[in-house]
Symmetry: C2
Subunit: 367 residues, 2 copies
């Protein structure tokens, strides 16, 4: 039996803790894992692209546990009433290869992406940052806002989305949190949202080389948290922002970011720093208050590994885990056929059972 | 909601049809898909190796449906009472990226591997083949026997395994099928089992360059179905068998087989034929009764795609599909946070609900 966390399960787990403490706890797990970067098997994710989107697999392992995430990205889904991104994943035991946990990761991906964004910003944004522009007010935006409010002390959010209904929804959800020290200001353009912001988070969905931010919007000292550009041909920043002499670009895993991140717009020798180097002290996240820091986030398998292990631990602390019969249990592991034999050989002895089973013997002679 | 087939589900589906007709139906699906080889996105599987085994992901897509399989291979598991191979997989809709079906694939992998073996043998073995040596009598062996009995008319099985208990188990299970035209003969060595056989199937588990078959065992006209060598460093045949001048080697997907198959023992320019070429008439499976034909099987993602689509169809024909809440359903797909908001904002209004939920507002101010 494999432990299972579905939508009801993630509602229960996050509901008990609260989203902000959940995100903060998850950020701590992610930081712990990035600090032991060398222990992980790393590869750029496997992607199959189609006209409407992409389906990806993101595996990794630290030699003790293995995890992978299935995740799609289909920007046109929302027009059909469907999510742009859905995801699920599995945590497995490396020693035996047996899966331990199957979990939903649609909600969890939003939580872990926000946790990673805020974690990176802790090392890259100015400590006195209080105002964040949030461009792209879709499914992931509330999670980003909660993470930056809780973990970085952001007090004012300036919202912009080409879809005004999305901005209204985000503003309504943030108001409903009932936080007195959290101000929300819808804006009429990206430029209006960005002006005077300490941090700019872009989390848009269009699968194209969009230019959400242009060079003249960017002021010295800003931290850019570029979340939405995460696919070949899918970027959000004008390349000249990355090329600024006072800019510092941090990525998660360089080989994957070269393919998927904002830096796909630049030559392969463009200098970037991996986040793990900031944690280990080999590199700095910000050298001066005037630098423009850019977290070119695409999402890396290690973060999902951290999330799955965190969920596995929380479910065991909080509940009797729910289980599903995804993997067989056998008294004799070499007798896999016994699982079927019971069904097929039982039939001739119980012809009156009323079940429409046909025995193997009957089938073999009749076909 | 995602449809689900667990162990109980696969028992029900295969039980209704019977294993042999299930395998024959699946072989037809696999053949159909190999005939449209060019439509599939193909890649060698992603593998993470550890001292005890390997965990692999096997994705593919034909542009309409996407599938992947998770599968492990841990030869030492049986000593712990666990299966060497466990597996599960997902079928998804390429248009939206949404998963359609999550299914167990441990039992199904044994069924599909047998279906693929018998399908290949139909094109490669002599039509008058009646005797098969079956070396390796573990979890997959009954499935191989049923497939070759049903699809190729094999009447005599000669069994050998280093573990005599495994051979006893296989013989018992085959006797229990109650087939009058099926003879079973346990043997004391691989050489004894192979002598006089028309087809030799090797399906052993050791992760090493084992030599299950040596050159002097092989007679002209034999068909070798080499199933167990499916990993770097895991082979079953002496390389000189592959090098015979009268030998013809067929593989599933050449780039993967160069890494994992028996041919990993040979230079990269050693000539092999892909199975799809045999189906399309570009190549022949067997040119003369005296040729030694070798199906160097490792298992390819297309076969799991076929199996998942077949299961999806069968479950819908036979039953009300069982479903799990792996993916959220939202009235407004941009309001993913609403899934959690309901939990966290409801709490203050119902303090007497008795559930130990803590609201976001409380948590944000208390931490």
């Amino acid at each position: 039996m494999v432990e299972y966390i579905g939508i009801e399960g993630i509602q229960r787990i996050v509901g008990r803790l609260g989203p902000a403490p959940f995100i903060e706890g998850l950020a701590a797990e992610i930081e712990t894992d990035y600090r032991r970067w060398g222990e992980f098997d790393k590869s750029a994710r496997h992607a199959i692209h189609s006209p409407g989107g992409v389906i990806e697999l993101m595996p990794t392992s630290d030699g003790e546990m293995y995890s992978f995430k299935y995740v799609n990205g289909h920007p046109k889904n929302t027009a059909l009433g469907l999510l742009t991104v859905t995801a699920f994943g599995v945590l497995a035991d490396v020693e035996t290869g047996y899966p331990l946990l199957l979990s939903e990761l649609t909600v969890t991906t939003a939580l872990r992406t926000a946790a990673m964004s805020a974690l990176a910003a802790r090392w890259m944004a100015r400590p006195d940052s209080r105002v964040m522009a949030l461009i792209g007010n879709g499914a992931q935006s509330e999670f980003q806002a909660i993470a930056f409010h809780h973990m970085l002390g952001i007090r004012e959010f300036r919202l912009y989305d080409v879809d005004g209904h999305a901005t209204e929804k985000l503003a309504r959800n943030l108001h409903a949190l009932g936080e007195r020290d959290l101000q929300v200001k819808p804006c009429r353009s990206a430029a209006e949202a960005v002006e005077g912001a300490d941090i700019v988070t872009t989390v848009t969905a269009d699968k194209c080389n969009a230019i959400i931010l242009t060079p003249e919007m960017i002021a010295p000292g800003m931290h850019l948290n570029a979340v939405g550009g995460d696919c070949p041909g899918k970027t959000e920043l004008h390349a000249d922002i990355l090329r600024r002499v006072d800019a510092r670009v941090i990525v998660e895993y360089e080989p994957q970011s070269r393919i998927e991140g904002e830096i796909q717009q630049l030559p392969a020798d463009f200098s970037v720093t991996e986040f793990t180097q900031v944690l280990s002290g080999v590199a700095t996240g910000r050298a001066s208050p005037a630098e423009v820091t850019i977290f070119d986030s695409v999402g890396f398998a290690l973060e999902d590994y951290s999330a799955l292990r965190y969920l596995y631990k929380l479910q065991r602390q909080q509940n009797q885990p729910r289980k599903i019969d995804l993997i067989p249990h056998l008294d004799n592991p070499k007798n896999l056929f016994g699982l079927l034999g019971a069904n097929t050989t039982r039939l001739p002895a119980t012809p009156s059972s009323g079940r429409p089973l046909r025995s193997l013997a009957v089938d073999l002679t009749s076909i």
